[in-house]
């Protein structure tokens, strides 16, 4: 146990204010050594500020940062064994790729700098390009140099600030897999800041979803997706259909609770229901909904308002009698398709729903993705 905790990163009540604006509310976070951790949130949520405080590029207003037992809050960036892959890469334009990668090692007087740097370049598949200048490389290659330059120092924590933001979609997908491979190979703690929920879910073991300077929820990608604890998380990670419902006392079956939404009795797994709540948002992911009765005991009737075919799937917008529109995504698996204007039944299973406290804004986090 002691061994695995040596390099854990602890943020204790870490806070950052800029004048009257609080960028990061007091934050407590423990990031286990060797994990791939993502800080996910829309722009301006405080994730980059948090990263910069860990790097030592920004002084916290309050709180502390520890790596294992060592308190590094008061140390400067160059004194920390923490390295960053910057969003803009920040490669030194006047140095060769190899000199860039050796920069950190040389500052520490590493005699073996050259060999280690060449190894790092090999790890990111840039062998033979050490003699070039950064400007002679493509964006994807520069990104790899930035990564090699950071991880060659074997930092306690490696910080990635939206590292794939500047790459095109195809390259981004490729680098996501690549980053995950490298992280598993070197076994360093990676903290990855991103606003791209898909990127976070693809790569991270654990994701902390941030909004307005607060960590809304921490968990592995599947838990965050299946059991979001706030409307913000529900909407920011993928799409959610949220229905206003009241909890009905009593239980129809073992482990299942009943809620009533617009005269329909709907089942939801008890452990997906917040304790003691009476008014809730009942949420279901679009791909958990089925057209027809095959989805489960929960049923609602509505009219198909829109059909869009995306190849692997078909997305329907189904309008409920009270006006709410539900999004249904059906795999293109040969099952019967609905047509525009058709009256359909939408069904789902009890364990596929989740309930959130109704005091929250149902649209929180829904539109943010479009802003960035």
């Amino acid at each position: 146990m002691g061994e695995s905790q040596k390099g854990d990163l602890h943020l204790v009540a870490l806070t950052k204010t800029f004048g009257a604006f609080t960028a990061v509310q007091p934050m407590d976070l423990t990031i286990p050594q060797g994990s791939f951790f993502a800080l996910l949130g829309p722009s301006g949520c405080g994730k980059t500020t948090t990263l910069r405080m860990i790097a030592g590029l920004e002084a916290p207003s309050a709180g502390s940062i520890r790596i294992g037992e060592q308190d590094i809050t008061a140390t400067k960036a160059h004194q920390r064994n923490v390295n960053t892959v910057f969003q803009s890469y920040a490669l030194f334009p006047h140095m060769t790729v190899l000199d860039n990668v050796m920069f950190g090692l040389k500052r520490r007087g590493d005699k073996d700098a050259r060999r280690k740097a060449l190894e790092a370049l090999e790890l990111v598949q840039l062998e033979g390009l050490g003699g070039r200048k950064p400007a002679q490389l493509s964006g994807g290659m520069q990104q790899r140099v930035a990564l090699a330059r950071a991880l060659v120092n074997r930092p306690d924590v490696l910080l990635l600030d939206e590292p794939l933001g500047a790459l095109d979609l195809k390259l981004r997908r490729q680098m996501q897999i690549e980053l995950k491979r490298i992280q598993q190979e070197v076994g360093l703690t990676f903290i990855h800041v991103t606003h791209d929920q898909e990127e976070a879910m693809t790569m991270a073991d654990t994701i902390a979803v941030m909004n307005q300077g607060v960590v809304e929820q921490i968990g592995d990608p599947a838990t965050l997706y299946e059991q979001p604890r706030s409307t913000f998380v529900a909407n920011f990670l993928g799409q959610s259909n949220l229905l206003r419902a009241k909890v009905v006392p009593g239980s129809p079956r073992e482990g299942v609770a009943l809620v009533r939404s617009h005269d329909a009795d709907l089942e939801v797994a008890v452990d997906h229901l917040p304790q003691g709540a009476s008014d809730v948002w009942l949420g279901v992911r679009p791909e958990k909904l089925r057209l027809g009765e095959s989805g489960g005991p929960n049923r609602l009737r509505g009219t198909v308002r829109d059909v869009s075919f995306t190849g692997v799937a078909i997305q329907y917008i189904v309008r409920m009698p009270w006006g709410r529109e539900l999004t249904v995504v059906q795999q293109n698996d040969g099952s019967a398709r609905a047509t525009l204007g058709e009256d359909v039944t939408v069904s789902w299973a009890a364990e596929h729903g989740f309930a959130l406290d109704a005091s929250q804004d149902a649209d929180a986090g829904a539109m943010v993705e479009d802003d960035v």
Binding site: H78, N83, F103, R107, Q136
Partner: protein
């Protein structure tokens, strides 16, 4: 006839460029040519006879090499001090927000905008009031003062293009602030600093008006020497030294061009 007109039309840009180049270079060529003259009288205005006397004996006229030496010493010291101070000012103005920043930004242009005659005479007044005798030190202080402005302008332009993230990256990789400055900031701002230093040197070496106000009879700089000599007849050696200065300047510019070309080729 038509063919000729067409040819001219096609090469108009090249033609115009040649005319402008000739316009710029003819004075220098004349100086170079007349440095090989053996003038008939005191004045070196008519080409009399080819001679290398001036080149084999550049210090042949009394005081000329002392004057060049003084100008070089003042020029080098002034440009060195002005470059150091000007670079620091440029970084302060380019990087930090502080009280009086906009005021400083404006005042830095004052020496460039003030007529030299006014500046020279007011500096003389100031030095006399302070009890500082005219001479090399007074000249040096005056030169540093107006050179700083030009260095600041040259370096600031460069600093503005530097990505502050690069310095953060250096710190992040374990470089102390001093190492960061030495290995990242300084090499990246070097072209601006070099341009500022060269500009400062040529301005100082060339200055006559301000220098003349603050000189003592024993501190004769090269421009003062030439000015003084022109009344009595300019010796060939002045043409020789002028040509040498022109060639040195040309070499520096060409080497600079070569370096930046090579850099750009690597980048492209």
């Amino acid at each position: 006839m038509n063919g000729i007109m067409n040819w001219i039309r096609r090469h108009l840009v090249a033609f115009a460029a040649l005319v402008v180049l000739a316009y710029l270079l003819v004075p220098n060529v004349i100086v170079a040519v007349f440095s090989f003259n053996d003038p008939e009288g005191k004045f070196n205005y008519n080409f009399n006879r080819f001679s290398t006397d001036g080149w084999t004996n550049p210090c042949g006229t009394a005081g000329i090499c002392d004057a060049v030496g003084l100008s070089l010493r003042i020029g080098l010291t002034a440009s060195l001090v002005a470059t150091i101070l000007g670079t620091m000012i440029a970084f302060a103005l380019g990087r930090y927000r502080f009280r009086g920043r906009s005021g400083t930004n404006l005042l830095i242009f004052m020496p460039m905008a003030t007529p030299e005659v006014v500046m020279g005479s007011s500096l003389l007044t100031l030095f006399l009031m302070m009890g500082l005798p005219t001479g090399p030190l007074a000249i040096l202080i005056a030169h540093i003062m107006f050179c700083i402005s030009f260095v600041v302008v040259a370096v600031k332009a460069r600093v503005a293009t530097l990505d502050p993230k690069l310095e953060e990256a250096a710190a992040d990789l374990g470089a102390t602030p001093f190492q960061t400055f030495l290995r990242v900031t300084l090499p990246l701002s070097a072209p601006g600093i070099a341009a500022g230093a060269l500009l400062a040197f040529s301005l100082s070496f060339d200055d006559y008006i301000i220098t003349n106000f603050n000189a003592s009879p024993s501190s004769i700089t090269f421009p003062m020497y030439v000015w003084g000599a022109s009344a009595r007849g300019v010796p060939v050696q002045v043409y020789v030294i002028g040509t040498v200065m022109f060639l040195i300047a040309l070499t520096v510019v060409m080497v600079g061009q070569l370096i930046s070309n090579r850099r750009n080729r690597q980048v492209a």
